[in-house]
Amino acid sequence: MRYLTRRIGLFLVTLWAALTVNFIIPRVMPGNEAQAVLGTFRNINPAALHALQIQFGVNAHQSVLSSYFEYLGNCLTGQFGVTAQGVPVMSEIGSKLPWTLGLVGVTTVIAFLIGTLAGVASAWYRGGRLDAILPPALFIVSTIPVFFVGLLLIYVFAVKLNWLPLGGNYSVGATPSFSASFIWDVLKHALLPALSLVIVTSGLWVYSMRNNMITTIAEDYVKTGRAKGLPTRRVMFGYAGRNAILPNLTGFAMQLGYVLGGAIVIEYLFSYPGLGYLFYTATTDHDLPLMQGLFLFYTLAVLVCVLIADLLTAVLDPRTREA
């Protein structure tokens, strides 16, 4: 229990840190710049404008501290202000979320499976052909910047071979529906972005999994498992694999931030209208509330995943259950 309360504490502190970063940054900007940015905003109702002014400290009627607390209060009640177009930040995020969720969610799961299996297998059959090729290859691939993988894939499959579309999430002029043709269209558009992400993130995972697996295999209890005459698969997965993954679940969740970053770049590269692309356009538009809202959202996503991983570890690893 203490373990979990400590982790929740960390969760809250990190959230607070992200909120504070959001608060501090516009105040570090020269005063008239913030004013100028606000000036570009359209369709803002006075209440929203007031909230933004507080956030940016533009019309400093209040002290910094009281602005801070009002800002925190706004955030806790879900009011993240409006974008430069006057649309509430939350709804803007909400509309783009499903696309990114689909892309990142699916690729992360696939990459996790590939990475884990490759790591476990290559560690078990160490010195064999699999181990000689797979981990170094995947690892080197994981150090390749994700945008380069994306560029290559676009060049080969979209430009040269013309098999797959250049970008976007569905063809121009298509109407969203649950029809088979639309779904197929969506999948075609998502294939290259997804492939880029899977290639790079499996590599991230396989190397650490392999090393942890090697260390675990060297543990005496794996030797005992083998000595007891348990079937190979049983020892490999039930004794070594399971024990090797568990302590790393949290580490894996923490890498999610890196994956989300990669998704931003990929969405930009493929003009894929998810949250990452939104972040990019917000940057070029100097749309501060939207950028801050997205940053907060990303932080929250990582935190939630880390917390889930911690919970899973606590539940599955009997050693952490000691009160």
């Binding site: 960390l10 945008f147 060049y155 090697i214 970053g261």
Partner: protein
Amino acid sequence: MAVTDISLAEHAPDVEVTGAPARFLRAVLGNKKAAAGAVILLVMVFVAAFPGLIAPDSPHATIYAQDAAPSSAHLLGTTQLGEDVFSQLIWSTRLTLLVTLVVSVIATFISMIVGVTAAYFGGITDRTLTVIIDVFLILPVLPLLILLAAYLPPGVTSLSIVLIITSWAFQARQLRSQGLSVRNRDFLVAARARGERGIYIILVEIVPTMSSLLAASFLALCVYIVGFAAALQFLGLGNSGQLMWGTMLYNAQQAAALEAGNAWWALGPGAAVALLGAGFALLNYAFDEIGNPALRPVRKRRRSRRRRGRAAA
């Protein structure tokens, strides 16, 4: 230990102390992957130091045909404005490498100070610093980078600053663990008994024992910095006038190079970034296997062919 323990009958053997640089060199030369990494990095350093030798054309000279495909005159084609891509690639090496190394050195230094201080002082200092490290580790890096970079004037200085801020925490935990394991050794107790101050102990006594972990951390950080710097510039947060691979990528993307026929304007710097990152990563292999002998490659023998899967325990 029982009084009847055999080891009491023996004398303890002397421990050989070999120099760290010699060990490192041996590890690099003996390990194929690390040697490959070293070669890549040496080539990069050479290119960065003497770009004129390889690409005599000025990278900014807009004198050539525009958007030309690769040819013998222009190995990687030309840009939209008529500059030679290969030339730009070569001349960008210097700034790219410089930024990477400087940022990594500073970030590793901060990482080390924070990690070892936390380990050495323990208690409330340790807990506070650990929380700070964890917070920086969880905050998603690229979003934070983008957020920070968007508010600062575009350029190499801002880039370096935001990179340092977001990457110092990367290795801090490992450095802290190492610091913890060293903390109670006799030579440190002796230093404390001599009345040395904490900061002295940290810098002069503890840090030198961690040299291989520091080097490995530095290299690992380089891999990430190379990628993140390029990604930031790719997204447009750098100064497109400054000559770095990332800015080349941005310009290429803005000009839709992939479709326009001079794809190497984009693929060239991309490949260069990948190569540099791979170089650092490969060199780092030398350390992984020094530190953990269990990870060292296993030499295959003919005899055990009949026993598949026996490679375990």
